[in-house]
């Protein structure tokens, strides 16, 4: 069962656990998810993000780490990206370092 934090929600804190989650609203804090994390086009995350798979369509202000990280064409990331497998679509904006390798360093 995948989860959604809708576009009208403002959440401050930390998210951890096992499952899939799509963030369409505003989140401030840390995310550590054993599953797929999607930051939708309307979503905005401020803080470090870590998940098995991360797909960014919206905005992230913080480090992004995952086994596979995908930055879609509207993604705006201000922070470092660390991934085993990284996909960056044309048009994505990234302001930070890219490190491709074992993302489990901080797990």
């Amino acid at each position: 069962m995948s989860g959604i934090l809708g576009g009208s929600l403002v959440v401050r804190g930390s998210i951890r656990g096992k499952g899939d989650l799509s963030i369409e609203g505003t989140f401030e804090g840390e995310i550590a998810l054993d599953g797929t994390l999607t930051i939708a086009g309307s979503g905005s995350v401020t803080g470090p993000v870590r998940a098995t798979d991360v797909e960014v369509q919206g905005e992230v202000d913080g480090h992004v780490a995952g086994q596979s990280v995908t930055l879609r064409s509207n993604a705006r990331v201000h922070g470092d990206v660390r991934a085993l497998s990284l996909t960056i679509d044309d048009g994505a904006a990234l302001d930070g370092l890219i490190e491709m390798g074992d993302p489990g360093g901080d797990r």
């Binding site: 995948s2 989860g3 809708g6 009208s8 403002v10 499952g19």
Partner: protein, 229 residues
């Protein structure tokens, strides 16, 4: 507006506010200020202060530090002493998942006291009584309107004159003309109108008290027993 879901296995620690509905299947540790319906699904946990209407599919357990400001709908509710609940509480059974009318706080604030509601409490409340408690007419369970229909005579069949001014040969509702006696006229109209509910073996004496019914039934049964043997 899109419904948000906190899935099973995921813990959100922090504060959450905004509009739209939220279904919690995982754990939400922190304060919730939601302009929408908060639904705590089976297995879901919310620990913290909640502002806004809450629907709980099974048990709403308010622990000592819990604060809920808003209307609550739950199968069962238990509250530890020290917990705070401001709002209308409805314990649901069959009509779960129905959205409560949110917002208004009707109960005065009380901070102490234990509210324990085992499952049996709900079963003990008759459906009609429960519907008046909740005050939502669309939730009157099926027997309610049915009974009311049976109890109310059709408007055109009603003789609006006082009973004593009616001619004695005027037929009462649903009664054969010859059955109307002065005794039947003095009987309250609803009781007579409800007569179809009563197994009245002697149709020619509708105003009669119940006692004849019992011996008659017994006699019928004994006759049947005699007939079968």
């Amino acid at each position: 507006m899109k419904t948000s879901v906190l899935p099973q296995g995921v813990t959100l620690e922090g504060e959450l506010r905004g509009s739209g509905d939220l279904i919690v299947r995982g754990a939400l540790i922190g304060n919730v200020d939601l302009d929408g319906m908060l639904t705590i699904d089976a297995g879901g946990v919310v620990r913290g202060e909640v502002e806004g209407p809450v629907t709980v599919l099974e048990l709403l357990r308010l622990e000592a530090s819990a604060r809920v400001l808003g209307d609550v709908q739950a199968d069962r509710v238990s509250a530890a002493s020290g917990s705070v609940l401001r709002g209308r509480v409805r314990m649901t059974g069959a009509d779960r998942l129905r959205r409560t009318v949110g917002g208004t706080l009707t109960a005065p604030f009380t901070s102490s006291g234990t509210l324990e509601a085992p499952r049996e409490v709900h079963a003990a409340i008759p459906a009609a009584r429960l519907s008046t408690l909740t005050g939502s007419p669309e939730q009157v369970s099926a027997p309610g309107p049915g009974v009311r229909e049976r109890m109310t005579e059709p408007p055109d069949a009603r003789d609006r004159r006082p009973i004593r001014e009616r001619p004695t040969d005027t037929p009462m509702l649903g009664m054969p003309r010859q059955a109307v006696t002065s005794r039947a006229l003095s009987a309250p109209i609803p009781a007579t109108a409800a007569a179809p509910n009563v197994v009245a073996p002697v149709a020619s004496k509708p105003g009669g008290p119940p006692p004849p019914v019992v011996p008659r039934l017994g006699r019928v049964r004994s006759q049947r027993r005699d007939g079968s043997t």
